[in-house]
């Protein structure tokens, strides 16, 4: 891509005399910022805190499961641990991670915009997020919630003694942060593309975020509606979910999964966008089958709304409904497979450099493939009857969410880290982290497939002793996984203090965000860029700001 940049002294840019980080100082300049890059960083810090919190819960769960007796925690404590692990990880880390951190930071840069369409709404979205997060955290501190992250009625509405209403209010408010981000991204992509940035010149990261934004806007309100119905039932005694009042507890599951299944795609589709960017860059190749990859994101977004009933094959829902849900679920496997095949084909005859982001991306492909294929086990109706609510399901969604989504997020974080901070991290240390995370992850979760097939139910505090050996293996793996995360975080934090200057484009990547300084100036571009070529034009000479500026 080609840009027109105001000639400026390259020396000034290199010294980073004025960029979005030092443009203003003070706490207030951060808490009231409307700069999408700073909001991205606010999200980075807060989502990382929730990731750490959820990770500690996961560690405690794995420690408890070392022995079959349930001797480390009370049953009630254990139930609260897995509930809060799920709530923290899903609502406060996975859903906002790629869109709100990486999307906020690079989406406007990629399309040549100065900011998102509604910068103040963008800040409001972060405040919704931390308000929701604060309420959920308060619910944890005040006594915890033990309903599971799925909040199934009538347990959650009538029987649970925990701080369910508080946690649900937190999730409710947090939902608005998703909606606002979705609205912002859609408008930004429609209205703020730089001249020449046509729809089919958009990087695939943008297409993925377009699909994600649609799902956020259409799906998230349903969670809010569900919550309001639960409140109506509890306050006014209208029977909606409570069978004693003539309600139907299964209805709650329908509403819950109508949002929460698309939410799975809200989590993973932005990750697809990251993987497309990283594989193209480190193979120096245009993405194979650009339009297939772009449209498969939209197909997944659309079909994702029509498969929620596959979580409910054992509830006694109509067999014919189950059949339709199973059918559409198999259908959605096709665009997903298409993506993996296209990424693999992109590497064909490329110039492959196994830098850290690429290692994460390749790890993603392997793990996501296993996650996706084990999904077909669960969409096979008769098979699901045996595997439903067992560790097979636990393992399957961790392969998709952690093996897929977290790997994609870390790939993107390592890819754009030099752009965000202006620093390079230690490549050897970062690679060590990546390899440990990959190995530790497999060690943790592969045994759980076997456990599930043997019939070990999920959310069990004590379990029959023949399952112990696999649980011990899983806990051992979690230790390696935890070590990998610690190395990864240390490496990134260390780079802030000791990292070498990154320069505008350390990976010789293509894309508008790589043609400006690292870190970028407050308004991103000195002058509106004009796009004249296709995305991923890796066969073209590099266009670097420094070169252009010195011309």
């Amino acid at each position: 891509m080609t840009t027109t940049v105001t000639p400026e002294s390259p020396a000034a840019a290199d010294r980073g005399e004025d960029n979005y980080l030092n443009h203003e100082y003070g706490i207030k300049s951060w808490l009231l910022t409307v700069d999408h890059k700073r909001i991205g960083l606010l999200y980075l810090i807060t989502t990382t805190m929730f990731f750490a919190l959820g990770g500690v819960f996961a560690g405690l769960i794995r420690l408890e499961l070392m022995t079959p007796q349930g001797d480390m925690f009370q049953a009630d404590t254990y139930n609260k641990l897995f509930t809060m692990h799920g709530v923290a990880m899903i609502f406060f880390f996975l859903i906002p991670s790629v869109p709100a951190v990486l999307g906020n930071f690079v989406l406007p840069l990629m399309i040549g915009a100065k900011d998102v369409a509604f910068p103040r709404l963008n800040l409001l979205s972060w405040y919704c997020y931390i308000t929701g997060g604060a309420l959920a955290t308060f619910a944890i501190v005040a006594g915890g919630v033990d309903t599971g992250w799925t909040f199934y009625t009538p347990y959650s509405s009538t029987y649970s003694s925990g701080f369910v209403a508080l946690a649900l209010t937190g999730v409710f408010i947090n939902g608005f942060s998703s909606i606002l981000t979705g609205v912002n991204f859609l408008t930004t992509i429609h209205k703020m593309r730089a001249p020449g940035m046509t729809w089919f010149r958009l990087p695939l990261f943008i297409w993925a975020h377009y699909a994600t934004s649609l799902m956020m806007i259409l799906g998230t309100p349903v969670v809010a509606i569900t919550l309001l119905l639960v409140a109506l039932e509890n306050l006014l005694g209208i029977g909606i979910f409570n069978p004693d009042l003539g309600g139907d507890p299964i209805l709650m599951q329908h509403l819950f999964w109508f949002y929460s299944h698309p939410a799975v795609y809200i989590m993973i589709v932005p990750g697809f966008g990251v993987i497309s960017e990283v594989i193209a860059c480190f193979s120096r190749k245009a993405i194979f089958g650009y339009s297939f990859v772009a449209f498969s994101s939209l197909a997944i977004a659309l079909l994702g709304f029509l498969v929620w009933g596959h979580h409910m094959f054992t509830t006694g829902q109509s067999v014919y409904a189950s059949m339709v849900f199973s059918f559409i679920t198999f259908f959605i496997a096709v665009p997903t497979a298409v993506k993996v095949f296209n990424w693999t084909a992109t590497m064909y005859r490329g110039s492959i450099d196994l830098k850290t982001p690429m290692l994460y991306a390749i790890g993603f492909m392997g793990l996501f493939l296993i996650g996706g294929l084990t999904g077909t086990f669960l969409s096979t109706m008769a098979m699901d009857i045996h595997l439903h609510d067992t560790y097979f399901v636990v393992s399957h969604f961790h392969y998709v969410m952690v093996g897929g989504m977290v790997m994609a997020y870390l790939s993107g974080l390592h890819f754009w880290w030099p752009k965000m901070t202006g620093r390079l991290y230690n490549e050897a240390m970062a690679k060590t982290g990546a390899v440990l995370i990959f190995l530790g992850f497999n060690l943790t979760f592969f045994p759980q497939f076997v456990l599930g097939y043997l019939g070990m139910p999920r959310r069990y505090h004590v379990y029959p002793e023949e399952f112990q050996i696999l649980h011990v293996a899983s806990t051992g793996g979690a230790t390696v996984l935890g070590l990998g995360y610690i190395i990864m975080f240390s490496c990134l934090i260390y780079s802030l203090f000791r990292g070498a200057k990154a320069g505008p484009n350390p990976w010789t990547a293509k894309g508008l965000e790589w043609e400006i300084e690292s870190p970028p100036i407050a308004h991103n571009f000195h002058e509106t860029p004009i796009v004249t070529s296709e995305p991923y034009a890796y066969e073209e000479e590099d266009v670097l700001l420094a070169d252009k500026a010195s011309h």
Binding site: D76, Y155, T158, Y159, P243, D244, G246, D248, P249, S283, R284, K285, G289, Y290, F292, T314, T315, G316, V319, S326, F327, F330, F331, A333, A337, V338, F341, T344, A345, M347, Y348, R349, G350, S351, I352, L354, I362, M365, G366, L369, I370, T376, F377, T380, M381, A382, I385, H386, H388, D389, Y453, L454, R459, Y460, V462, Y463, P464, E466, Y538, E539
Partner: protein, 312 residues
């Protein structure tokens, strides 16, 4: 129940083998695709590794035949697996007509089981081998799930409705019974065992212990005690419709709809009598919501069902 570690669960019902075959088919397909893609990625990583910083490989923008191939082939594989899974699911759904009935009530945190002959048990389910057994299940409180891994089957146990499941065990022995749907603090102790016995042993077990009344007898006693018989007389002419022959038959409602009087309908008519009134009768029956237990309700239903059976 084997206490030893194994990589494969026991096969103890007629579902176990077909489900396992489906499982191994899926494992084979998954292994094939995973290995194929991973090998290709590794080969590419080695063969096309960056040898110099100046490399600028030629772009390849795509290939329609390839895209079609790797869309259509997975699609047909998916459809094949879908069909096998759906077909098996239908077989798991429909209980054979000659299945014996057992009634299950779940509550936090135990399984209460009643056999029609009157025998009751908690957290254990005794069944005869090689005989289809149909469980009619409901819950007193939250959602539970009745799961028997060795039989490869499970079903949610939902308050306010009857869910059924069936199986035919093939091997005498004891098998894990789990609650698979998270149901609160002691969820993981809501477990028990399924004891599969030879037919003769099962009959001995049924008739052993204190000889109680059968579920039909208990239901008849309740029917009298609760005053049902005052209005629901054996012949027509009472203030309520007669219940003889009503189970399984179509009922004309006051609203004009016609429903089949199944367990769910009878249950609702007892708990919310005014919601589906039979045509020609006044909505005068009082509700029994909250006044009778799930077990009594099942006994009443069993009794009402017995009124539709041909008398000997």
């Amino acid at each position: 129940m084997s206490k030893d570690f194994s990589l494969h669960p026991e096969l103890a019902s007629t579902f176990a083998l077909p489900v396992d075959l489906l499982y191994f088919l899926l494992v084979a397909i998954s292994t094939f695709f995973t290995v194929a893609v991973v090998v290709v990625i590794i080969v590419f990583c080695v063969k096309y590794r960056r040898r110099s910083e100046d490399e600028r490989p030629k772009p390849i923008h795509g290939s329609l035949p390839l895209e079609l191939a790797w869309s259509i082939i997975p699609f047909f594989i998916c459809m094949g697996v879908f069909t096998l899974g759906a077909d098996m699911f239908f077989r798991m759904y429909r209980a054979p007509a000659d299945a014996i009935d057992v009634y299950v009530v779940g509550k936090q945190w135990m399984w209460k089981i009643q056999h029609p002959e009157g025998k009751r048990e908690i957290n254990e389910l005794h069944v005869p081998v090689n005989t289809p057994v149909r469980l009619t299940m409901t819950s007193e409180d939250v959602i539970h799930a009745f799961s028997i891994p060795a039989f490869r089957t499970k079903r949610d146990v939902v308050p306010g409705r009857y869910n059924t499941m069936w199986f035919e065990s093939t091997k005498v022995g004891e098998y894990h019974l789990f609650c698979a749907e998270y149901c609160g603090t002691q969820h993981s102790t809501m477990i028990g065992k399924v004891v599969v016995m030879e037919e003769q042993d099962y009959q001995n077990w049924l008739s052993g212990g204190a000889a109680g009344e059968s579920m039909v007898e208990a239901g008849m006693r309740q029917f009298e005690q609760l005053g049902c018989a005052t209005c629901h007389k054996p012949q027509s002419g009472g203030r309520g419709p007669t219940l003889t022959g009503v189970y399984g038959a179509p009922v004309q409602l006051a609203s004009g709809d016609i429903v089949v009087a199944d367990e769910a309908y009878i249950r609702e008519s007892i708990l919310q009598p005014t919601s589906q009134v039979v045509n020609g009768y006044q909505p005068i029956m009082p509700t029994f919501q909250g006044q009778i237990s799930e077990e009594t309700l099942l006994q009443l239903i069993t009794y009402i069902k017995s009124l539709s059976e041909p008398t000997e």
